[in-house]
């Protein structure tokens, strides 16, 4: 007997409203249809009504989880349009805050994944560790989520010696915690039972359907925009974390690897922090032109299209977020899985619906 089950928009495992209409044949999902629009606000249109400085704050609110990287990507776009040269210290500080954001996002995502397969203790422990990262962000910028520290031409805040020491202390604590938690996440018998072989996405499908971020890297595709060396990544020596398992377990492995890698990147960036001014002044309006700019978010590659006509406002702002790219691979993974695995598969992709719908 076949039936259709609406999964969401209000569902215990989903922190955000998205609906998936699952067509079931007995226990197996035969097809899944996403229904979007529950958190569409119309941010892109609003960005055309605000000026360039205000837009930097506005795009931060595309998503509360990777807020800094959104505003950084937008600022990079305007800098490219105006041909501004960002001072090296600002580049390094941007890396520091981006990587702190990646760490808190990955801890959050793996925590929610643990909650989805019913391991509440692990969820709580991962989120306890995440608070150390939040403390580091709060101590350096004054805010936990919306940092507001990125501006066109550089950064608004500096990290002094005392703050640097605080961040490094917190990183040591996080690393110590992860040494205990990651083996549980990756080697526990029952966790493996819920993750290994679930949500298969082979390399060819991942490429064809345009997967990005840990979803692509878990399927053996070495795709990471940080490899191009934007900001200071080129000088910090970056190698992507790639796994070949193609399942939910491989994607979790990628996130676990990136957590440790981010700790290293922040340490290296803070260690080599060059002395220079924090920003170059942003004056006048950008010249008429279009620019496409990309950056690597915790969930994958974000894509900004900016069009300016030389006025004091943008003509068009377009955001293609990583979850939007990952929706199509997600539907491929869901086809053929059993109903109890649906929640695990959705969270193994780490969806951010508010990004997707803006």
């Amino acid at each position: 007997m076949s039936m259709v089950i609406p999964f969401g928009p209000q569902h215990p495992v989903l922190p955000e409203p998205i609906q998936l209409r699952l067509s079931l044949q007995e226990e197996r999902v035969t097809s899944a249809l996403p229904v979007l629009g529950y958190i569409h606000r119309g941010l892109e249109k609003l960005a055309e009504e605000k000026d360039f400085q205000q837009d930097a704050y506005l795009v931060e609110r595309v998503c509360g989880i990777c807020s800094f990287i959104h505003s950084m990507c937008y600022c990079q776009g305007i800098e490219e349009l105006m041909d501004l040269k960002v001072p090296p210290r600002a580049q390094y500080l941007r890396v520091v805050w981006s990587e702190l954001h990646r760490m808190h996002s990955h801890l959050l995502a793996t925590g929610l994944l643990a909650d989805a397969f019913g391991f509440e203790n692990l969820f709580m422990q991962l989120w306890r560790t995440r608070e150390h990262v939040m403390d580091a962000m709060e101590y350096t910028t004054g805010a936990r989520i919306m940092l507001g520290s990125c501006c066109i031409g550089g950064v608004r805040k500096d990290i002094n010696e005392e703050q640097k020491k605080f961040v490094l202390d917190k990183l040591n604590t996080v690393e110590k915690d992860l040494k205990v938690l990651l083996p549980v996440l990756l080697e526990d018998y029952s966790v493996k039972k819920r993750l290994v072989g679930i949500g298969m996405l082979d390399q060819l499908t991942a490429r064809e359907r345009g997967a990005v971020g840990p979803t692509a890297r878990g399927s053996g595709l070495a795709m990471d925009h940080r490899m191009t060396g934007y900001c200071a990544y080129g000088e910090l020596g970056f190698e992507p974390v790639v796994e070949n398992g193609c399942d939910s377990y491989a994607r979790t492995q990628v996130r676990a690897g990136e957590l440790l890698q981010s700790i290293d990147l922040v340490r290296r960036a803070l260690d080599r922090l060059p002395d220079s001014e924090l920003k170059v002044p942003f004056k006048g309006n950008p010249p008429a032109g279009e620019v496409v700019i990309r950056a690597e978010q915790p969930r994958g590659e974000v894509f900004y299209f900016l069009k300016s006509s030389g006025k004091d406002k943008l003509d068009r702002l377009r955001v293609r977020t990583p979850t939007f790219a990952n929706l199509s691979p997600l539907l491929a993974m869901l086809t053929g899985c059993t109903l109890p695995d649906v929640a695990v598969i959705i969270l193994s992709v780490d969806p951010c619906v508010s990004c997707t719908e803006r």
């Binding site: 922190p15 409203p17 569409h40 609003l46 509360g64 989120w127 508010s354």
Partner: protein, 170 residues
């Protein structure tokens, strides 16, 4: 019964039109650092089990019906806590074409927690204020919803430029 519910309020969370900032701060409230469970707060997925509805974000055309549904499914008496400036007025998105305004456009809101996003301490405080109101609702006292003091400030529309050509002719 009254005492028991006030000692252990069950909370359901609905992300209405939020950017996730308030949602992750609300989830952080439940985890060991802030630990809402020490006040008896339990997070449930089913609105039919809940006493307190935590709404994040503003209301749009599409989720208006869903929010009303979630609220209607909760058994009375119930309390609504709206998180963040978006939940109060629409916040930074108030001028967007798809945003109708705060959560009070659809359902009665008892507590507004300001901030973008509010800190977990403020969220805990808001939920506990909601529980106080819930306890008063239980014993059938009239509870007046708070007067909304936050107003959306929109710039005045520019006056039409005087018609220069008409003047010249006259």
């Amino acid at each position: 019964m009254t005492k028991a519910t006030a000692k252990s309020p069950w909370v359901v969370h609905f992300n209405c039109n939020s950017c996730n900032g308030c949602d992750i701060e609300f989830l952080a409230c439940l985890t060991p650092m802030y630990d809402a469970e020490r006040f008896g707060v339990v997070h449930v997925g089913n609105p039919k089990h809940a006493d307190v509805l935590v709404v994040t974000g503003s209301v749009n055309h599409r989720n208006r019906r869903v929010l009303k549904n979630v609220y209607d499914q909760m058994p009375s008496p119930k309390v609504v806590v709206a998180l963040g400036v978006c939940g109060a007025t629409g916040g930074i998105f108030a001028d967007c074409y798809n945003v109708l305004g705060g959560a009070d456009q659809v359902i009665p809101v008892d507590v507004l927690v300001p901030g973008c996003p509010p800190r977990p301490e403020a969220i805990l405080d808001g939920i506990l204020k909601g529980v106080e109101i819930l306890a008063r609702k239980k014993i059938d006292t009239e509870v007046v919803p708070p007067e909304k003091t936050i107003k959306i400030v929109r710039p005045e529309p520019k006056p039409e430029p005087a018609d220069e050509s008409a003047k010249a002719v006259s």
